[in-house]
């Protein structure tokens, strides 16, 4: 097989056995990555299993492009029942790094982790050999020391995925970390590792990945994302932060740019050099992506420039250009230039003043403990700030005065929740959604914070102290909370995407839309089949990204719709069009939805009930959405997807159209 390694390992921790599944059982129909995961999970799992029970299955898959040198193909994906979703549901988590390529060099396209080891183990994969080794020397280690220890044990050049103390202690938002601080974090699969007594997976591969069309790979390397192809020196920056959070740094700080994954032709991640560590005097380097910037200061929310979501042929660029500060010069001759490039300032939030060292310590603790930074920065810390200001914390004894501007308190709190110290350590280790309910949602979650102001209207924006949106995640590009400053048509679209998901989806389905379409529906987004088509497009592209595989920051390119298909064909030699990939994405999404319906009770009432309340707080322009208009939009979306409008269950004809008649029968879909 070109592109693929050819086999998937089924690794059972309970009886410590390994068996092989030919990848050809699932591809090319399911493409790879998440598409294959969804098929396996549908075929093999049943309802009634908890995320942290041995019966949960953690599936890891690479894509056909992984390890081929096709840019962004180094990304890979985990799926399983997420302990961080609320309620627990099937979800996924993407991860970059070198580990996916290394696995393919070892001859495997992916693996399925089943059961629970009766003692602490790590898995060592060297080509065909898969071993279960004693993790006693690793248990308790922080993330980087664990990675280093594995190199000591197995030699330079091995690639590892590890958990830190957060995963060991079953913190529901624990991450799995690999090289260059790449994590699978949002779904809390680090806790699933911990629940299985699994500390790490270390891989050494010495074999080959054989792509089909090498000339095409070179062509893609030059074309995808307009690679820099010139020197990228270290920069000494005088300030850090953006918008209202910018602060001077004494002596400046050193910024480099690094790639996240094997073979990428971009370097969008910031390497912050010589930073303060949380664990000793030694200075450290750490990687900063989007949300990390707000660890340092969060007085003002992220600003929004419409070009981030709406694009024209004359003005469109990839998100990966933003953090490396390589955005192309805008085409000022574009008739929509002014609308696309006029920034909208974020809300004044007054969460915490900038503090460069404290921000670095917070980042380092997330990295070393293995905790999802999104939850820490956007949710735990903002809640502590807001709840304190609203006088809600007077009766809660955290063992230290709550002060999110104090480095000592940040250390104390993150330490407390990671190691489940005391009453509140255990409560908050369950994640914010569960912790707030344990404390009492009405008081500790829904109390309005009175310190946030729109810079658009000058009015106070009454959002609650807990920035919770649907499925146990915090707001993200949804008109409230973090990255709130997006206009109503934008957050209507992102909220619809979230409704259909089981976790925050804006990390892989970042909303992209042609500006010409936006102009068509901007005054009445909830009654627009065009908006729904845009949502379906972005959802399908997300599926494709996690299956081919490629990256949310290079895909989709609205003006190169065949890009992912060209990548797939270059890797595999299998002819593929954008339309065929889209069909595979529809199939993958149907399987995902079928899993949610069969195993987790997903239905229209459930998902509308989860999302609608999150949009009843005003956005920065004072906008909300009404019950009727939202439900009108859901009707249009369900029709577009081929779901029953009352229940949200895909109809039999829809499922059969994509070769999923067996799924229709399992769901009890009536014959038409």
């Amino acid at each position: 097989m070109y592109g693929y390694a050819g086999k998937i390992a089924r690794i059972n921790l309970t009886d410590r056995t390994v068996t092989q599944i030919p990848t050809s059982k699932y591809v090319p129909e399911n493409i790879g990555g998440r598409g294959v995961c969804n098929r396996i999970f549908w075929d093999e799992m049943r309802p009634g299993i908890g995320a942290l029970e041995p019966g949960n299955m953690l599936i890891y898959m690479t894509g056909a492009t992984t390890g081929t040198g096709i840019p962004t193909g180094g990304r890979s994906v985990f799926t399983g029942i997420s302990p961080n979703s609320f309620p627990e549901q099937y979800a996924w988590s993407g991860i970059g790094g070198m580990v996916g390529a290394e696995l393919k060099f070892a001859g495997w396209d992916g693996f399925i982790i089943e059961g629970r080891a009766d003692s602490r183990v790590y898995i060592y994969i060297e080509d065909d050999r898969i071993e279960f080794l004693d993790a006693s020397p690793l248990w308790g280690l922080l993330v980087h020391p664990c990675q280093r220890k594995l190199e000591e044990l197995h030699g330079d050049g091995v690639q590892s995925m590890v958990i830190g103390p957060a995963g060991e202690n079953l913190m529901r938002n624990a991450s799995i970390t690999t090289s260059n601080d790449n994590v699978a974090a949002k779904s809390g699969f680090g806790a699933v590792f911990g629940s299985k007594n699994l500390k790490a997976i270390t891989i050494r591969g010495t074999g080959d990945v054989r792509p089909y069309d090498i000339e095409k790979i070179f062509d893609l390397r030059l074309k995808m994302g307009s690679p820099y192809m010139r020197p990228s020196p270290l920069h000494r920056e005088a300030t850090h932060g953006m918008d209202g959070n910018e602060i001077p740094v004494e002596g400046g700080w050193l910024r480099g740019q690094v790639a996240c994954s094997h073979g990428c032709n971009q370097h969008c991640n910031r390497l912050m050099i010589d930073m303060k560590s949380a664990f000793g005097d030694e200075r450290i380097n750490q990687v900063e992506k989007c949300v990390g910037i707000f660890a340092y200061g969060f007085q003002e929310d992220c600003s929004w420039t419409p070009i981030q979501n709406y694009e024209t042929e004359r003005n469109h660029f990839l998100p990966c250009k933003m953090l490396s500060r390589e955005e192309p010069e805008p085409d000022t001759g574009d008739p929509h230039f002014s609308e696309l490039f006029t920034p909208v300032r974020g809300d004044v939030t007054n969460y915490w003043k900038p503090d460069f060292d404290k921000g670095s310590v917070m980042m380092d603790m997330c990295n070393e403990y293995g905790i999802d930074k999104w939850d820490v920065i956007v949710w735990y810390m903002t809640w502590l700030s807001m709840a304190k200001k609203e006088g809600l914390l007077d009766d809660l004894d955290f063992g230290m005065e709550v002060d999110v501007e104090s480095e000592a308190f940040v250390r104390h709190f993150l330490d407390m929740i990671t190691y489940r110290r005391g009453k509140y350590g255990s409560i908050f280790a369950e994640g914010m959604a569960r912790a707030i309910r344990k404390l009492g949602k009405e008081k500790y979650g829904d109390t309005i914070y009175r310190g946030r102001y729109s810079q658009m209207t000058g009015e106070r924006i009454d959002v609650p102290v807990s920035l919770e949106t649907a499925w146990g995640h915090s707001y993200h590009w949804q008109g409230r909370g973090f990255e709130a400053t997006i206009n109503k048509p934008g957050w209507i679209a992102t909220s619809l995407e979230l409704m259909n998901s089981s976790r925050d989806v804006q990390t892989v389905a970042h909303h992209h839309e042609k500006f010409e379409n936006y102009l068509e529906y901007k005054d009445d987004p909830c009654h627009s089949p065009l908006l729904v088509e845009g949502v379906a497009f972005d959802e399908n592209k997300a599926e494709i990204k996690d299956s081919v595989t490629c990256c949310d920051w290079q895909s989709p390119d609205l003006y190169w719709p065949d890009m992912e298909a060209e990548m797939f064909t270059a890797a595999t030699g299998i002819p593929m069009t954008a339309a065929q990939l889209s069909e595979a994405a529809e199939r993958s999404r149907l399987l995902f939805r079928a899993i949610l319906i069969r195993d987790f009770g997903r239905c229209r009432d459930m998902e509308v009930g989860a999302i609608f309340p999150t949009m009843q707080y005003p956005d920065p322009f004072g906008q909300t959405v009404g019950w009727d208009e939202w439900n009108d939009l859901v009707d249009i979306y369900y029709k577009r997807r081929g779901y029953d409008i009352k229940t949200g269950v895909p109809t039999r004809p829809t499922l059969e159209k994509y070769g999923l008649g067996d799924v229709a029968s399992a769901l009890g879909c009536a014959a038409n």
Partner: protein
Amino acid sequence: MDTGRSYGPHVAQAPPEYSLCAGCNSCEIICSLVHDGVVSPSRRRLAVRRDIRTMMHTVYSCQHCTDHPCYDKCPKKGTAMKLTPDGVAYIDESGCIGCGLCHKACVFDPPRINYVKSAPKETRRARKCDMCLGRPEGPACVQWCPVKCLTVV
């Protein structure tokens, strides 16, 4: 590393003040694609050694020692290990018996010859940088490094 030796033209990593290695491994990938049509850590002729903690990475490539001890140690020299008229030592893998003596003879740590001892005997070969001999554009790793942190010195 100063070994007191003299070297021929070779691929070298620029200092980060000129360009920071992005750690993408493109150089390794391109190397094995150009030479063998596959991507493989066993077939690359240069290596990125990753630092887990600093995330600043080092590219190791053959320095083309002018006294070429690797060539001298090859039991099949002239068949496996060969010299160009300019004195560049390169490996003709069709003649390589996979003994690993060239790897042992390399004066550098880590050795700049890629030799995977655990590979099956029938496919075990030594591989080293040949400066992309005969390639008009010169070394492919230099040409395709996305941040141009590699150069020929």
